[in-house]
Assembly symmetry: D2
Homo-oligomer: 151 residues x 4
């Protein structure tokens, strides 16, 4: 089986409609290309991205902080309960070929740090500013082009 | 999306043909029922189980010790590189609703301990003997019936 | 600073007085030799071993499942809250140069498996039976001699 | 045994003499107060802090990314090999009562994110700028006063 490309979608578990919709649109385009969405499995940006990717018929993987599959959002096809708490952030990063950060708080910041430390490309959209190493983009189209270039 | 049942398939990364075939047959029956196989993603029993489950059209999740998706066996549809080494054994157990141990060495023994500690049902087939709490079965059919009863 | 030898002391968090006393005596002898006791930091065998080692003036390290230092038993000089739950079992094993299992349940079984998998020597005293690779001893003196031989 | 206060000292594994000396001075003051230094156990800021704390006669804990105690810097009294790679960053944060970041790169950024996410106080000295939640200080004395206030 050919190994699929994994796009890590990171961002806050509670987010604005604007960020949710960006995540969903990106998730859809990712899914259309046969790539998978990997994320933390909860709400907000993670849910938007998973929803879009599922609508496009591809697979979504949710690496959950807790031990219950049921805590995943409804669009996660492969929930992976880890019981590691925020330790699952490292797993999201380790599994991803490229990471897209949309908005986000401290958990997202930790994932950005872990991804850059691991040498993974990080694309940022309205997220933590002025972090050297992030490829900042300003909308969905730019993000998608950047993913294509970096994969 | 309805959350699928996960059957954790554990056993040695190098195994006899007999164990490989048992794992494959079980994996196929698991897949036919729409359940997923979760495993450590490498060879031997993990590969047999993944092969069967894939042949039945269901999803296989491989929680890998290393950081490379490419280290998964060819029948893993969702490889999850963890970089946790043997620490991924706990993840296999945490993600599983029921665990089936076929043969196996020390890694399998650690997974049996972790599963029983977490209160997960463990089915054993020609594996570590005389461990209270394991539901021992003697062939594939018995294992399948036991999975059905325990899920 | 010369790196000290670490003896991993594993066993149930609730144990008989007999096992507690064996653990304490062993912990004392370990501490007298300037070695450290590493354990899961909670009660039972872990507490007995830590108490003895502290009484001998050496250092005790408790790798705790939760996030609170206060959950450590009173004889742990260096509590390390991990938040990893049973995932901390692997850390106990990884930190140890040799592991002594006294009695114990499923958590101990998982640690035995992880230790043997990692190639660490495991000494067993009234613990899980018939596990190839464990050096079984029948009392405190034998355990101590075996530790000395294996370090 | 009264549980000691843990100051997490984070920063790059290779650093300027200026940062090394700040870390060492801070480590010394921390040790003088009977507090422990917790860190990643390697060089640079981690070594400076451990050196100072050891010189003051207190205990230093190094949560190492790898599996060898010998990889710790010479001033780590309690090396804890974890084998978790960058996953040990979360352990440093989880064990700390307060975190001091001096300079630092992406690993430090991930620790800052994890600490703030966990609600731990973070003191920053010439480190990642403009992160809401960090208590920025400009020298050793200010850092020490801030530690005292936050513990």
């Amino acid at each position: 089986m050919e190994k699929p490309c994994y796009v890590g979608m990171i961002g806050a578990g509670t987010c604005s409609d604007a960020h949710y919709n960006i995540a969903r649109t990106l998730g859809f385009e990712i899914g259309k290309r046969g790539w998978y969405v990997v994320c933390g499995g909860l709400g907000g940006v993670m849910e938007g991205a998973a929803k879009g990717c599922t609508e496009a018929g591809s697979i979504t993987v949710g690496l959950l902080p807790g031990l219950k599959k049921e805590s995943a959002n409804p669009y996660i096809r492969v929930p992976v309960p880890t019981g590691l708490g925020e330790g699952r952030n490292l797993l999201v990063v380790s599994a991803s070929d490229v990471v897209v950060a949309i908005g986000g708080g401290y958990g997202t910041l930790s994932e950005i740090g872990l991804a850059l430390k691991a040498g993974k490309p990080v694309i940022g959209l309205e997220t933590w500013k002025d972090i050297e190493g992030i490829e900042y983009v300003s909308d969905c189209d730019e993000a998608l082009m950047m993913i294509g270039r970096l994969l």
